[in-house]
Amino acid sequence: MPERGEGTIVERPLRLDYDYTAGLAQSRFLKGIAQKKILGERCPKCGKVYVGSRGSCPTDGVATDGGEVDLPHKGTLTTFCVVNVPFAGQSVECPYASGYILLDGADIPLMGLIQEIPHDQVRMGLRVEAVWEDEVGPTLQSIKYWKPTGEPDADYETYKMHL
């Protein structure tokens, strides 16, 4: 009869190595980031501006060739979550806030860290701006985090359709 003890504890790493190809649209976006630019792409049909565009409008099914939009580095926090549970590979100390930032003029939010504000004061409608790393490259890590601009909160009506 085997003993019903705790038994041996083992650590089993599981690793998946990808060779990630960004594609044309994401490459345009990431090359913009490398120049401290946040580039959106506009749908020629509905006029929506996508950030981190996949090169097509999911609503109209057409290429976002309506033009490149050099977006401001400022926007509204539409929704957020406060992370309290630590996990492997976490780069920030808990608790911290992570949220969706709808840049002014964009129709889809970017995800980012919200810092320079106590996590329990983070709120929907908060106006935030990008804080860039000193050295930027073709990666979203070039944006260190987002901090409050100090402007009055955005009116719910201005971003409710983006939730």
């Binding site: 019903r4 038994g7 041996t8 504890i9 083992v10 790493p13 190809t21 960004a22």
Partner: protein, 146 residues
Amino acid sequence: MSDVLRAPHAIEYTYTRSVGPVIDRFFAGLGEHRFQGIKGSDGKVIVPPTEYDPYTGETLTEFVDVGDVGVVTSWAWVTDPQPGQPLDRPFAWALIKLDGADTSMLHAVDAGDESKMSTGMRVKARWTEDNVPDMSSIACFEAEAG
């Protein structure tokens, strides 16, 4: 430079798990360079052993020693081994039914060349020297000598 960016992207997570009493004993056996199975309700020997009977769900307790030599029941050739796989040269993943076992277990066969592999071939475990009580005690399998 190409218009399209590409970059390596690795996802890695480590599971910490208890192996349970049955695999614990199976591992201990591997550290001593021997395989153990467990007898199921139908009298068949399951290798690697399971804690519960696959048909009745009963707790299984009857360990049985099986050989470190067996027969390949199925296999697939790996031309380009990935990092972390048992061998760094082309090898076969194979289902191996050890002598005395009624089920097959998956392991690598160091055959050198695909032409040396065949279903029904006899293979033997190649043990590592360090006698660690887990799967790492089995380096791989190889064609039975003679």
